[in-house]
């Protein structure tokens, strides 16, 4: 693992994000590109051992595929009112194949960002008459997994929606704010010290490219929100509620930070 110099690392990362935004064609003019050099962003996949990388890559072995297949079955399943996801969105979900790449989006109705899991949950309540589950509810998670799998290989889009800008900024502020008894901010580990070790583990940059992910620590699949909550508890801070503004802001920020990176489908992570 290469050791990254603290100050240079953060600057390089930001430059990489700006460069990626320019490449994606969605960023406003930011002046001469300073990030002409290589994109220094890495997925947590690159920080894993060969054995776990092989496990993720193989659809016949990746435990997350249990949820992907379940999601595929749920897509076609008719709810009590006779309707199904497939009924509106097509049997193979072609019309929503890139949904995982495009969310969170700004939702005019609630005037807040809407994550993919949030949209799935709302859609099921509204159109299928099913109960609310939350991002880590069994069926919403399986459907999220299936949609992430469908979007595998697509770049994360961070839509250049001005209405998301205040959420992005708030997310970045939270990313840089020290919190908890350990008094750590996300960026201290995941920007400045990514690639170094904490205990025996390599510190990843913390990109959402593989979520929902099968995390060995959970022995289960889990959402990005679950992972963020785990991180916050890890620094001994009170985690934000799942639907709190802070949770949405962080996710919007993390997506922007990862704009242009490739979606991995359901990842395996230690």
């Amino acid at each position: 693992m290469t050791r990254r110099a603290g100050a240079a690392g953060a600057a390089a990362l930001l430059a990489g994000v700006l460069a990626a935004c320019s490449l994606a064609g969605s960023a406003p003019a930011l002046g001469p590109a300073t990030g002409v050099g290589a994109d220094t962003r890495r997925s947590g996949f690159d920080d894993m051992s060969a054995a776990l990388q092989a496990l993720q890559r193989d659809d016949t072995q990746n435990p997350g595929m249990l949820w992907v297949h379940e999601g595929q079955a749920l897509w076609a399943r008719r709810a009590g009112n006779g309707r199904s996801c497939a009924g509106c969105h097509g049997a193979d979900g072609d019309s929503v194949a890139s949904a995982a790449a495009r969310h969170p989006v700004f939702d005019a109705e609630t005037r807040r960002p809407l994550t993919l899991a949030g949209r799935i949950d709302r859609c099921r309540q509204r159109h299928l008459g099913l109960p609310e589950e939350g991002a880590d509810g069994a069926e919403v998670l399986a459907l999220s997994a299936w949609l992430a799998h469908r979007a595998r290989g697509l770049p994360i889009e961070a839509p250049d929606d001005a209405r998301l800008a205040p959420w992005r900024e708030r997310g970045e502020t939270l990313w840089r704010r020290r919190m908890g008894q350990l008094d750590l901010a996300c960026h201290l580990c995941h920007d400045e010290r990514a690639g170094e070790r904490l205990g025996g583990a390599v510190i990843p940059q913390g990109h959402p490219t593989g979520y929902p992910a099968y995390r060995l620590e959970w022995q289960s699949l889990g959402s990005l929100q679950r992972r963020i909550r785990g991180c916050i508890v890890g620094v001994r801070a009170e985690p934000f509620a799942a639907d709190a503004d802070e949770s949405l802001a962080l996710e919007v920020w993390m997506r922007r930070r990862a704009a242009g990176m490739t979606i991995e489908g359901v990842a395996v992570r230690p």
Partner: protein, 109 residues
């Protein structure tokens, strides 16, 4: 939780007679070891898969006696020499009356 037990079986397609193929089977199961404490410090009781079997046209071709040290969502892969097409039946048994069965075809040309 969704009520149906989920399993993932991989049997290679386009198998020729005499090929030795790899069968892969994953089943969703928490594999609770019986050693973990719950949030109140009490031991969570053991709940694991204890046996996995595969039969080809009724003849046992593979079995595993499973202990708590097998990871959650247990995965097994084993080899099979393909002599002729047939039906593979994979079964799992475990604590608390757990039983699951998957049937899939082995197509040999």
């Amino acid at each position: 939780m969704a009520t149906a037990v989920r399993a993932l079986i991989h049997v290679p397609r386009q198998v020729r007679r005499g090929d030795v193929v790899e069968i892969r089977a994953t089943i969703a199961h928490v594999m609770e070891t019986g050693h973990r404490p719950d949030s109140e410090g009490r031991r969570v009781p053991r709940d694991i898969v204890t046996r996995f079997e595969c039969q080809l046209d009724g003849t046992p071709v593979f079995a595993a006696d499973v202990y708590p040290a097998v990871a959650a969502n247990p995965y097994f892969a084993f080899a099979l020499r393909a002599e002729r097409s047939g039906t593979l039946v994979l079964t799992w048994e475990g604590d608390r009356g757990f039983r699951h069965r998957e049937t899939t075809a082995l197509e040999v040309t």
